[in-house]
C-alpha cells in the first residue's frame, strides 16, 4: 500500500496535467466536401479521443488556408496540392502531410445566354476563376483538352467568394470553380446553364498541408490529427449515411447534394505516387502558363511531401516512393 499510493498519486497527477501538456493545433479548413474527413473527425470527437487538441479555423479556399498557415494564424491547413506545387517555385516552405481526398469537383459552368452552349464557344468569352488555384489549373487543362487556346479566352481573376456573384452579375460568361460554389452557380442559372463536359483532365488531391519549419514543432499533434482523420476516413467508407448527414449539416446543403459529393470523392487518407505525378505535371504547367517565373525551377517535389508522419500514424497508407 505504501508503494502503490505514491504511484497512484503520480499517475493521477499526470492524467490531470496531460491535457494541459497537449499542444493546441490550429487547423485551417477550406470549406467544401473536400474537407469532409475533418468535419467527420470533429463531429465524432475523434480529435479528442486521439488526444489531439485541434482548433479548426474556417477559410474560403485552400489558398486562404495556406495564407493563414504562412501568416502563422494556423499550424496546418487543408488545401489542394497545386498550392504546394506552386509554392515549390518560391518559398518552398509548405509540405504535404497526407491527402485527405481526391476528386474531380472542379468544373466549368457557363451561361447559355452568353453564347456558350458548348466548350468551343468559350473563345472570346469572359471566364472567371480564382487565380493561382487548382481552379485555374483545371480551367487551363480543360481548355487544352477541348482544343481551346487560353489566349483566346478572357480570363477574369476572382476571389473565391466573389465567383458566384460575378456570374450572377454577368461580369463573366463562364466560371471554373470548385464545389460547392459550382453547384450553387449552376443551380442559380437554371435553364440558362450550359452543360460543359467534364473530362478527367485533373484529379485534385486535397491535402493536409503544414509549414515545413513548423512541422517538427507540431509533429506529435499532427500524428494524432492524422489518426483522427484516418478514423474519419474509415467511418465515411463504413457509414456513408452518417458522413452524408455531417456534410449536409456542415455545408448547409441537401442530403442529395451531400450524397452526390460523397460519390464523386475518394476520401482515402494516403500519399500515392499519383500525387507526385500530379504535382510534377502542375509544375510543368506553372512554367508553361507563366505561374512560375520563366527559367525558374521547382524544388524536388518529393521534398514537398512529408510521408513520415502518415507512416507513423497509418502504416500502409503511403505508397509513393520516397
Amino acid at each position: 500500500m505504501r508503494r502503490v499510493l505514491p504511484i497512484a498519486l503520480l499517475l493521477a497527477g499526470w492524467l490531470q496535467l496531460a491535457p494541459a501538456l497537449a499542444h493546441e493545433l490550429r487547423l485551417a479548413v477550406s470549406a467544401g466536401p473536400v474537407s469532409l474527413p475533418v468535419y467527420v473527425a470533429e463531429a465524432q470527437g475523434y480529435f479528442r479521443s486521439e488526444g489531439a487538441d485541434v482548433k479548426t479555423l474556417g477559410c474560403g479556399s485552400g489558398k486562404q488556408c495556406v495564407e493563414m498557415l504562412q501568416q502563422g494564424q494556423a499550424d496546418a491547413a487543408t488545401a489542394a496540392e497545386l498550392l504546394v506545387s506552386l509554392n515549390s517555385f518560391t518559398k518552398a516552405d509548405l509540405s504535404i502531410v497526407a491527402t485527405l481526398s481526391s476528386s474531380h469537383q472542379i468544373r466549368v459552368v457557363a451561361r447559355r445566354s452568353a453564347g456558350v452552349p458548348q466548350a468551343q464557344d468559350l473563345k472570346g468569352k469572359r471566364v472567371g476563376t480564382v487565380a493561382g488555384t487548382s481552379a485555374e489549373y483545371y480551367l487551363d487543362t480543360w481548355l487544352l483538352f477541348q482544343g481551346v487556346d487560353r489566349s483566346h479566352v478572357k480570363l477574369v481573376p476572382l476571389p473565391a467568394d466573389r465567383v458566384a456573384a460575378a456570374m450572377q452579375n454577368h461580369e463573366v460568361d463562364a466560371i471554373a470553380i470548385w464545389e460547392p460554389i459550382a453547384s450553387t452557380v449552376a443551380d442559380a442559372l437554371k435553364d440558362d446553364l450550359a452543360t460543359m463536359p467534364t473530362p478527367r483532365v485533373y484529379t485534385q488531391h486535397f491535402a493536409l498541408v503544414t509549414s515545413r519549419h513548423k512541422a517538427a514543432a507540431v509533429e506529435a499533434e499532427i500524428v494524432k490529427l492524422l489518426r483522427a482523420l484516418a478514423r474519419a476516413s474509415q467511418l465515411i467508407a463504413r457509414e456513408p449515411a452518417t458522413a452524408t448527414q455531417i456534410l449536409a449539416a456542415r455545408l448547409h446543403i441537401t442530403d442529395a447534394q451531400a450524397t452526390a459529393y460523397l460519390a464523386s470523392h475518394d476520401y482515402s487518407l494516403n500519399l500515392d505516387q499519383s500525387l507526385v505525378s500530379t504535382m510534377e505535371s502542375q509544375a510543368r504547367w506553372a512554367l508553361r502558363s507563366g505561374q512560375a517565373a520563366k527559367g525558374g525551377s521547382a524544388v524536388n517535389l518529393l521534398r514537398a511531401i512529408e510521408p513520415g508522419l502518415l507512416r507513423i500514424a497509418v502504416p500502409g497508407a503511403v505508397s509513393l516512393v520516397q
Binding site: S102, D140, T141, L144, F145, G147, D149, P199, R200, V201, Y202, T203, A237, D266, Y267, S268, N270, D272, Q273, S274, V276, S277, T278, E280, S281, R284, W285, R288, G316, S319
Partner: protein, 656 residues
C-alpha cells in the same frame, strides 16, 4: 430441468452448434478462397496497369501508332478485368477509382491521338498537358491497383485468420460442447444412477437405513425419492415382519406343537423351539437341512411318503412313535400344502403334537365305557341318552331284555321313531322340559315281552361345563313290586281294620267325590251321622272286646241297610257315617234312616250276650240345586242333627 428436456436441449444445441460450426467453417473457407481469388485478380490488374503506364510513357516519347494500339489493348484488358460482378468489391474505393479511370482514360488518350503531330506551340502545349494528365491518371490507376492489392491482401489475411480461428475454435467449441455434454450426462445421469445402484446394492445387502436423499428436480431425483420411500416402506415392512416373525416364533415356540415349514426341496425353512424335544435336534441348526438329515432315516421312512403326497397337494395326517423329551411318545403330524395363486405347491406346513396322553386317555375312556356299558347293560334299569336334537344316543342292553328292542339300530334315530309317535307325544313335554334343564320324574307303565311293568322314569339334564344342556339321561326302573306294596298299603290306610269299613281317610275322599257327582248329575246327596247310643256303657261294662264285637255287628248291619252304591264308613269309636247318593227325594233318606234304626233295634248277640243296641241318626241333605256345599259343612249339619236326635231321646233320626 427435466432430464428428458435437458437431453433434448443438449441434442438440439449440439446439432445447431454442429451445423453452425460446419456453416462457419465452410463460409470462412469460402471467404478465404474468394479473397485469394480477388487478390490474384488485383495482382493481375496491377500488373496490367504497370504495363499500361509503360505504354503511356512509350507513347508519350515516340507517338507511335503501335504503342497506341497496344495501349488500347492493355486498357481494354484492364477494363474487362474490372467489370462489375464481384459484389464484394463494390464498396472498395480503390476498385471504384480503377473503374472510373478505366472508363475515362480512353477519351483522354483518344483526344491525345487527335492532336496533330506538329510543332505548333498550342498543339505542343496541348499534347504535353494531355500527356501529363494521361500519365498522372495512369499513375493513379497504378496507385489504385496497388491499393486494391493491399486491401485485398489485408482482406485475405483477415479471411485466413478468420479461417484459422474458426478451424481452431470449432473443434475446441465442439470439444467443449462434448465435455459439457459429458459433464451434464455425468452429473445428471451417471452419478444419480451410480448413487441409485449403490443404494440398491446396500439395500440388497440389508442396509435398509440407507437413503439417497436427492433433491434434484428431475426424473432421477424423483426416482431416488421414490426409491427412498420404497426403502423406508420396505424397512418398516421388514421391521413389522421381523416383529411379526418374532411374535410368531414366540407364539409357536410356546405352543405345545412342533411347527415347521419345509420347501419343495424337503429342506426346513422354519422350525419352532418345540423341535428341541426330539432327540438330538437343535431347531436353529435344523434350518436348511433336509427332512432326512434333520429327523433321521428312521423317521424319514415314515414321513417321506407323506411329504411326497403333500407336495402333490394332498393334506396328510399320520401318527408315529418317537422319543419326546426322552420318553417314547406318539406324535401326530399334519402336513398342509402351501399353494400359491397359480396352484403350485411351494412347500408344506408341518404341525406335530404329542398325542401320547390323548391316546392313553382314549384307551382309558374306552375301557371305562366298556365297563360302564357292562354295568348299565346288567342293571335292571332302562338307561338311555337323548341328545338335544331328541335323538337316541345311547341305550343299554335292558331295552332288549325288557322290550325286545335291538338298540344298535336305534342309535342316532329320533325318539319319535324309537318309542313310537303315541309314546313320544305323551312324553314330549317332559322330554322338552328336561332338555330345558329341569329334572323330570314320572311314573308309567311299559309292556314288553308280554310283561307290563310299572315304571319310575327320571329325565336328568346333561349339562356341560358352562351349564348348557347337551341332552338328557333317561333312567327307567321297574317299580311294579313297589306299586303292589303301595296299593296294599294304600288300601290298609283307607279301611277300618276292625269293621272293614272305609275309615275317616276314605270318607274324606268319598264325600267330595259324591258331591262332585251330585253336581254333575243333579241328584241329591245325603249324609247320615250315626253313633251307638250308650256305647261307652257297653264298653265299660262288657269290655273292649265286646265293644269291638258290637262295633263290628253295627257296621255289618249298617252296610246291609244301605244300597250297594252308598258308602258307609267308621269315623272313630262308635261314630259312623253313610253317604247316600243318587237321591231324588229327601223322603227316601228318612225311610232309609228308619230302616237303619229298625235294623239296629234287632238284638245283638255278642259273646253269649244279648244286647239291645240302638242308634241315633243325624241327617244332612244336599240338593244339587242348592249350590255348592263343603263336605265339612255337610258333616257339621249332620252332627247337629245327631245332637238333636240324641236330645230327642236317642234311637231316632233327625234331619238337619
Amino acid at each position: 430441468m427435466r432430464i428428458r428436456s435437458l437431453l433434448l436441449a443438449a441434442i438440439v444445441a449440439a446439432a445447431v452448434l454442429g451445423t453452425l460450426a460446419a456453416g462457419v467453417v465452410t463460409t470462412a473457407a469460402s471467404l478465404e478462397n474468394a479473397a485469394a481469388e480477388t487478390q490474384s485478380r488485383a495482382q493481375n490488374v496491377s500488373h496490367e496497369v504497370t504495363g499500361l503506364l509503360t505504354l503511356t510513357q512509350e507513347y508519350a516519347r515516340y507517338m507511335e501508332p503501335r504503342a497506341a494500339e497496344q495501349w488500347h489493348l492493355r486498357q481494354a484488358s484492364i477494363a474487362k478485368a474490372l467489370q462489375p460482378g464481384d459484389e464484394a468489391q463494390q464498396g472498395n474505393g480503390a476498385v471504384a477509382g480503377l473503374r472510373s479511370l478505366a472508363r475515362d482514360l480512353p477519351e483522354l488518350f483518344s483526344r491525345l491521338e487527335e492532336i496533330p503531330k506538329t510543332s505548333e506551340s498550342f498543339d505542343m502545349r496541348r499534347r504535353e498537358a494531355l500527356l501529363d494528365q494521361l500519365l498522372t491518371s495512369t499513375q493513379a490507376m497504378s496507385d489504385y491497383a496497388d491499393q486494391w492489392f493491399q486491401d485485398v491482401a489485408v482482406a485475405r489475411q483477415r479471411a485466413q485468420k478468420r479461417f484459422q480461428i474458426v478451424a481452431f475454435t470449432t473443434p475446441m467449441v465442439m470439444l467443449l460442447m462434448f465435455m459439457l455434454l459429458t459433464w451434464v450426462v455425468r452429473q445428471r445421469l451417471l452419478l444419480p444412477v451410480q448413487r441409485l445402484a449403490e443404494a440398491a446394492a446396500l439395500v440388497g445387502e440389508g442396509h435398509l437405513g440407507h437413503r439417497i436423499s436427492s433433491d434434484a428436480p428431475d426424473e432421477l431425483g424423483e426416482l431416488a425419492r421414490r426409491f427412498d420411500a420404497m426403502t423406508a416402506a420396505v424397512s418398516a415392512s421388514r421391521d413389522q415382519a421381523a416383529h411379526a416373525a418374532k411374535r410368531l416364533r414366540a407364539v409357536t415356540d410356546n405352543l405345545p406343537t412342533m411347527i415347521a415349514y419345509v420347501d419343495r426341496d424337503e429342506r426346513f425353512r422354519f422350525a419352532n423351539d418345540q423341535y428341541r424335544r426330539l432327540p438330538g435336534i437343535d431347531p436353529a441348526s435344523l434350518i436348511g437341512k433336509t427332512v432326512k438329515e434333520g429327523l433321521g432315516d428312521e423317521a424319514y421312512a415314515v414321513v417321506g411318503p407323506c411329504l411326497a403326497a403333500t407336495f402333490a397337494g394332498e393334506r396328510q395326517q399320520f401318527e408315529r412313535m418317537s422319543l419326546v423329551d426322552g420318553k417314547p411318545s406318539w406324535l401326530r403330524s399334519e402336513y398342509l400344502p402351501d399353494i400359491d395363486e397359480h396352484g403350485q405347491v411351494l412347500g408344506l406346513y408341518a404341525m406335530t403334537i404329542d398325542v401320547t396322553e390323548r391316546r392313553e386317555a382314549g384307551a382309558r375312556l374306552r375301557d371305562s365305557e366298556t365297563r360302564l356299558r357292562q354295568i348299565t347293560d346288567n342293571l335292571p334299569v332302562l338307561i338311555s341318552y337323548v341328545d338335544s336334537q331328541q335323538r337316541l344316543a345311547f341305550a343299554n342292553a335292558t331295552f332288549k331284555s325288557w322290550l325286545g328292542v335291538e338298540t344298535e339300530g336305534m342309535i342316532g334315530r329320533p325318539m319319535c321313531e324309537v318309542v313310537g309317535t303315541q309314546t313320544f307325544e305323551a312324553r314330549r313335554d317332559k322330554m322338552e322340559r328336561a332338555l330345558q334343564g329341569e329334572r323330570v320324574e314320572f311314573e308309567g307303565e311299559i309292556t314288553g315281552q308280554g310283561v307290563t311293568r310299572a315304571t319310575q322314569t327320571a329325565y336328568i339334564p346333561d349339562r356341560d361345563a358352562d351349564g348348557t344342556v347337551q341332552g338328557l339321561y333317561a333312567l327307567t326302573s321297574d317299580v311294579s313290586s313297589l306299586k303292589r306294596v303301595e296299593q296294599q298299603l294304600k288300601a290298609l290306610a283307607r279301611f277300618d281294620t276292625l269293621t272293614g269299613l272305609p275309615n275317616r281317610l276314605h270318607y274324606n275322599e268319598k264325600l267330595p267325590e259324591a258331591l262332585a257327582r251330585s253336581a254333575r248329575t243333579g241328584n241329591g246327596v245325603a249324609l247320615m251321622f250315626l253313633d251307638i247310643d250308650h256305647f261307652k256303657a257297653i264298653n265299660d261294662s262288657l269290655g273292649h272286646a265286646t265293644g269291638d264285637a258290637v262295633l263290628k255287628e253295627f257296621a255289618k248291619r249298617l252296610q246291609k241297610s244301605v244300597r250297594a252304591t252308598d258308602t258307609v264308613a267308621r269315623l272313630a269309636g262308635d261314630e259312623f257315617v253313610a253317604i247316600l247318593e243318587g237321591l231324588h227325594d229327601v223322603a227316601v233318606v228318612t225311610l232309609m234312616a228308619d230302616k237303619i234304626i229298625a235294623e239296629m233295634n234287632m238284638p245283638f248277640i255278642v259273646d253269649e250276650h244279648i244286647l239291645k243296641v240302638t242308634t241315633s241318626v243325624g241327617i244332612s241333605y244336599h240338593s244339587a240345586h242348592a249350590g255348592e256345599v263343603s263336605p265339612d259343612a255337610l258333616l257339621d249339619r249332620a252332627d247337629k242333627a245327631l245332637y238333636e236326635a240324641k236330645s230327642a231321646g236317642r234311637n231316632v233320626h233327625r234331619m238337619a
